[in-house]
Symmetry: D2
Amino acid sequence: MLQIADKTFTSRLLLGTGKYPSFEVQEEAVNISKAEILTFAVRRMDIFEPSQPNFLEQLDLEKYSLLPNTAGAKTAEEAVRIAKLAKSSGLCDMVKVEVIGCDRTLLPDPVETLRASEMLLDEGFIVLPYTSDDVVLAKRLVDLGVHAIMPGASPIGSGKGIINPFNLRMIIEQSSVPVIVDAGIGSPKDAAYAMELGADGVLLNTAVSGAADPVRMAHAMKLAIEAGRLGFEAGRIPEKDYAVASSPNEGLIT
Amino acid sequence: MLQIADKTFTSRLLLGTGKYPSFEVQEEAVNISKAEILTFAVRRMDIFEPSQPNFLEQLDLEKYSLLPNTAGAKTAEEAVRIAKLAKSSGLCDMVKVEVIGCDRTLLPDPVETLRASEMLLDEGFIVLPYTSDDVVLAKRLVDLGVHAIMPGASPIGSGKGIINPFNLRMIIEQSSVPVIVDAGIGSPKDAAYAMELGADGVLLNTAVSGAADPVRMAHAMKLAIEAGRLGFEAGRIPEKDYAVASSPNEGLIT
Amino acid sequence: MLQIADKTFTSRLLLGTGKYPSFEVQEEAVNISKAEILTFAVRRMDIFEPSQPNFLEQLDLEKYSLLPNTAGAKTAEEAVRIAKLAKSSGLCDMVKVEVIGCDRTLLPDPVETLRASEMLLDEGFIVLPYTSDDVVLAKRLVDLGVHAIMPGASPIGSGKGIINPFNLRMIIEQSSVPVIVDAGIGSPKDAAYAMELGADGVLLNTAVSGAADPVRMAHAMKLAIEAGRLGFEAGRIPEKDYAVASSPNEGLIT
Amino acid sequence: MLQIADKTFTSRLLLGTGKYPSFEVQEEAVNISKAEILTFAVRRMDIFEPSQPNFLEQLDLEKYSLLPNTAGAKTAEEAVRIAKLAKSSGLCDMVKVEVIGCDRTLLPDPVETLRASEMLLDEGFIVLPYTSDDVVLAKRLVDLGVHAIMPGASPIGSGKGIINPFNLRMIIEQSSVPVIVDAGIGSPKDAAYAMELGADGVLLNTAVSGAADPVRMAHAMKLAIEAGRLGFEAGRIPEKDYAVASSPNEGLIT
């Protein structure tokens, strides 16, 4: 069970809602993924504009927790403003802090992310910052009191998977709140790997919405995250440089 | 569906039967894995010795296909002799050709593996050779007429996972028979990766039997292989060097 | 030529002075490395204690530039204090800012590193901060006005080499001041790689002082850094998935 | 010193002669590389055609050893025929056996390579087979009596570097003749890495001839190979998961 603040979730997959080919595909992908937390960019959702159809309207809000993100913010103040806009809808009290510091890589700004997290905690939000895999930065965010941390595996949308498993493992080992690996996941093996490192969850968007068949990929990711979690719990064999026969020679019939 | 010769299997996980802590754990692991093909070292199974308990006796042979392997063989002739011993039991007509050429790494001998495969094909066996990831060797085995090829991900029991995904992908692209990645898988992510590369199946032993909790790991591997297969079919996103926002800026509310 | 502030160096190798087996080995390693910048931990060098022999006394200070580091500092204030102690010796006006945020990994603290860099710039130091490979943090340090940035390849003393070449390349492409890859280099290939990514220099310590033969390794590193730089300038071939014959078939004699 | 059969070489870099922009660039690259062994495709060099200018004519054959390769051969018999053609020129008694088994990857055919090597040894050649990184195949070639083995790092011309350092290390540890890493090297770090693994030499072609500045890259590779060899001899530090301070805390001034 994934626990964030006082909420408990059965699924460890958090799914983004951007860039699906259609609402229908998106809905089917969400269903098959069994995700319970859906993230969306506040600045792209016109929550207050009833004339414009949007995905949220079609959601059974009893079934899902919404995790608005502050994509588009470049400063803490912008992030806070976006978060408040989302909260004012009455649909959510969690927020994914996303303050980008580089337009080319969309990597997060450590300073503004820290500031925004602090300000939003003061405002009573449930705060989940998207951060780089900087180990000490993650620790500082945890020390601030955030409710989960979301280190990136690699740049958003890059599909490069986990570039630095060492840092992720350190972040996970040092964190007293859930660690949700966010950004960069490209395929099921990457999601499984994040979970094997001990992550509490994985947030996906492009890897699913951008796949040739998003619904099938959503299913694949659901299974991969379960597989990775079970693998983590099961305790994998150590890596060895030399082979060890699975069919030992003792007691051979000759 | 995995098809080998005239047999069809729903599961793409082939499970080895060596080195489990107990028969009970092994049985439970086999059950939860949903494996339909079980492999075992002929030289370790005293098939003809009714006084000695062994795992095969407890199996419902309607449910499983047995894949005896020729572990312990260092020449084609030894492999053929072991394969015939297995066949004489009346329990199986498939054989995994395993001729080791290096005691330290347990890596296969290409020359003897080719010879043994040819001899066993002449004898009417269904032949699945364990081979290195040498691309041309795999092609030659396929050209011989083997019924599946089983390239190693890394040395047996090493848990190093897929060292050379390039070679595996080439082998898979060039093969007209099923490719089952065998040896070296360490954790679910590795099994998923093999499937994402397009493999038709994965053979596991130590990664399951040597895990702290073999039953849970068997479950993890089952899911990982399904996840990897679905991921392959779903068509993953390409890797990009630069980020692509999953929450695009067009149409932002400002 | 490596240019830091108003100083110009022929060598792109910066050498640490910690943990050599003896002063003699250290001296020989320094000589053969052709390093012109030597770094040392101020808190380990009793610069003011004439009774205690130390490496600096034996140096020809005309030949070398000293780069004291603030190892041991956990806050910006401590770092500043240590830097001033070093400067008061009259031996140096550069300082490597090193503020550790994690005792286990010795990874740097982004917040205190930023603060310390700002304070030291205000005091007129030539400031070279040791930082993680966080891309936006590096950009912020450059924007502050530091004279070079020193991202780590992997944790200090780990010998893991460059874990995240993507981040390093981004840092290098975005930086208007020299980038010196610091920490984690294990062997010559790692140093060459840093330079091939476009780094302006490499700082080494444990990889040399901890080698079985530090003098020979110092020589190896000197050559590797030159090789990597030349390789960067020479423009390497792109990676291709499929082979391209170096002995093309056109015009074959048959 | 690199010793192949009864010949001794100071340089550990073997350079291919294909695909340079011009003879002049090639000559300069050869000079700066300090290579003593030059390899060329017999089928591309019209050794017997005096009207056609070719690189060999311009060489001081006192200074270089020629290593003709059998590129273009797909069978042992073709390789032997090409090798004899080369030998008949009176210019060389060494031959690099190159029998390709896959047009797409240009990976070598293990069976024909073994056969060709055996036939050429019988004919009294000094035999250096290009092979995959299959560990047992390399051992079999050594057992045949070849004078050096040349495992590929990755496919010819791919620039992918060393994909499987484990296999290369095994091949090197088991070989009683020189191991020269051939094919796939992309940049100086790759060449250094091959040498750090304990290789006796590196054969390069495309990485140099295809670089934007082949002469500078030839220089870079020369240094990288020296650096890697020195690094191997110097004994690198082990990789550690956790950091070890190069500036230890003992004896700190506080």
